[in-house]
Every structure is written in structure tokens, then in C-alpha cells.
Amino acid sequence: MASDVLEKGGPRAHDVVPTFTVTMIVRRFDPEVDNEPRWVDYDLQMHGTDRVLDALHKIKWEIDGSLAFRRSCAHGVCGSDAMRINGRNRLACKTLLKDLDISKPIYIEALKGLPLEKDLIVDMEPFFDSFREVQPFLMSSSKPKDGKERLQSSEERARFDDTTKCILCAACTSSCPVFWTDGQYFGPAAIVNAHRFIFDSRDEGSQVRMDILNDREGVWRCRTTFNCTDACPRGIQVTQAIAEVKQAIMRGKP
């Protein structure tokens, strides 16, 4: 135990953390030089407490400064460092190296289904376009009572609690096989954010959103493969949310 070690005045807790060598194979692409993306190996000395993001930082800061990837808060809130880690969409800042099989190389590549710009950076605009299309904002024609706030019971709030957790990292949408092949499909993230407002008792625009998602490329394209639920770093039950929107559209009301 670290506390015992400290009491005995032995090595500091930091030194006790196991270290290991891990091979990272990163899919690099520099549009000014490369015609095709290429896989590049990096052998790194890492600690048991390190995440994939720490390994990428180590590459960028100590080995090759040209490695490009997005990250901001580095604590699973901003949603900017979603990438494919060993073939699965994960946040680099929430994936511990020790949870992966470090006896084998770790493969890192950019999200699939969105245009690759450089290294691990993809063009997120198509993703945000479909997000915008479902009109993810409170629509109301009335002023709140007493001019203060719009009240809601805790049950009404709980109805859409799960879908409020979305951080728009695109891990779900870019794991969806329908999104990969059908350039027009809204994708799970847009439907999740529509769900968040469709089932909000304060919102009056449900019908508009349901009409949008009742479109040819709307919810009916979903084939319930559960890739999105598996990919979501926030644990949102994405496929269930999509199914609830489908049922709401069939009923004609939330």
C-alpha cells in the first residue's frame, strides 16, 4: 500500500507505480506529404496510471512533434479526443493503457466515416451539420410563469436524463455502420440530442424534430446493431434512445 510506504519513508508513491514498455502503432497522415495514410510504430516507457492520451503526449512532446490530434480538457468532458483505439471508438483520455492488452501493440487511428484531415484529426463538420439539423435547443412560445424559470418535476427531468450526458465526441456516430455507408443518415448523436428535447416537458418543438427524424434518412435507417451504445464514453443507452424516438414517431407524440 502506498500509505505504508510513505510512513516508512521508503520510495515515494510515484516510484511504486509499475512501468512497462508499450508499442503504439499510430495511423499517420500528412496531407501535404502523404498520398495514403501510413502506420508508424512508437515504443514508449509508460506507467500503470497512464492513459492513451498520455502516450500520445509522450510521442508528441518527446519523439515527433508533428503528430496531430485534438484534445482539450483531457478528463472526458470536452469530447474532443475520440479516436479508434484497437478498433473501438474510445476517448483517449478515458482509456487506461493497463486496461488494454499491452503485450500486443496498441493501434491508434482517426475516427472512421468522417473525412480525415491530418493524423488523428477528422473533419467534424458533417457530424455537427446533422446535429444542427435536429434543432437541439429549447423551443417555447410561452414565457415562463412568474417570469422566472420553467418548472419541471424530477420525474419529468428523469425522462430524458440519459441523453443530457452527450458530449458530442462523435464516437457513436462514427461507429455506426449505417453512417459509414449512407452519407445522408443523421447518425446516433443527432438522434440522442433530439431525444433530449423531444422528451423534455418544457419543450414545444417535439413535433418539428419528430418530423425531421421521420424522414427517409431519419430513425428508420437504424438497424439496432448497438455499436453506438458500445462506443459511448458516457455510457448513454444510445440504441434505446433511438428506439424511444421511433416509438414516439409512431405514436405521433412523445
Binding site: M139, T181, G205, D215, R216, M250
Partner: protein, 148 residues
């Protein structure tokens, strides 16, 4: 802040008129899927489990079944639901993989043609099947052939 904006920048998408095929296709897959579970397992149970089991299967057995209106309609339902269910699935896969417009159109046309031909042929067989063909050995035919 208590400003209420009447649907900001919201050009309500105009629903093109007519039937929402994508929606009804989805509902069809769910409904026919449930019906097919009953129809297929009922079919397998009656043909392979009841009585002599798989040994009972011969021309007389099938002929007997296809002259019973109950099994005629069971098989017709099975044929139509399953074939359209499968064809719709094939259409979805074609939309996924055939990116070339012409190839896509040809494949979907072929699926549609095959479905229509098989539906007509199958329905025709079910309702015009002769269980007592003339000149066949009596021991191969259903028992009611010799009775009449």
C-alpha cells in the same frame, strides 16, 4: 434571461407528400418478423416433430397438406411474409454496398423481379397443386385420392 424566441432559424422541413416508405418498411420488418417466428416454427413442428417426424415426409404428406385450406393459407402467408421480408433486407444491403447508381438500380430491379416471379409461382403452386395426379401408383398418393 426569459426571452422566448419563436422557433429560431427553424425552416420546418416540408414533408414530401405520399407514403413514408422507409417508415412502413421498418414497421413491416418488425411485424412480419414476429409473425414469421410463429409461422416458421409451426411449420417445422408440424412437418418434422409431430407423428412419425421427418420420416413421414413424402409426396402424400405434402399433397395432403396442400389440399387442406388451413395449410394452404398458412403456407401462402409464410411465402409472402418471408419473401418480402427477405427482399426488403436485400434492398437495404444493396443500398449499403452498391454505391454506383446504375448497379444499385439493376440489383434492386433484379430483387424486385425475382420476388414478384417467386410470389406468383409459389401462390400458383399452393392453390393449383393436384394431390392426385392421374396414372400415379396409389400407395404414393394421399389416402383420400382412392376414396373418391
Amino acid at each position: 434571461m426569459t426571452v422566448s424566441i419563436e422557433t429560431p432559424r427553424a425552416p420546418r422541413t416540408v414533408r414530401r407528400g405520399g407514403i413514408n416508405w422507409e417508415k412502413w418498411g421498418w414497421i413491416y420488418m418488425r411485424v412480419s418478423g414476429v409473425a414469421l417466428v410463429v409461422l416458421i416454427f409451426g411449420h417445422l413442428f408440424v412437418n418434422l416433430m409431430i407423428g412419425d417426424g421427418v420420416k413421414a415426409l413424402d409426396f402424400a404428406f405434402v399433397g395432403g397438406k396442400l389440399s387442406n385450406p388451413f395449410w394452404q393459407w398458412w403456407d401462402t402467408l409464410l411465402l409472402w411474409l418471408a419473401l418480402i421480408h427477405g427482399a426488403n433486407g436485400m434492398r437495404t444491403i444493396t443500398n449499403d454496398y452498391a454505391r454506383n447508381n446504375l448497379v444499385n438500380l439493376i440489383l434492386k430491379g433484379a430483387i424486385l423481379a425475382a420476388t414478384i416471379v417467386l410470389l406468383i409461382l409459389g401462390t400458383l403452386v399452393i392453390f393449383t397443386f393436384d394431390p392426385c395426379p392421374a396414372g400415379a401408383a396409389a400407395n404414393l398418393l394421399p389416402t383420400f385420392c382412392s376414396a373418391g
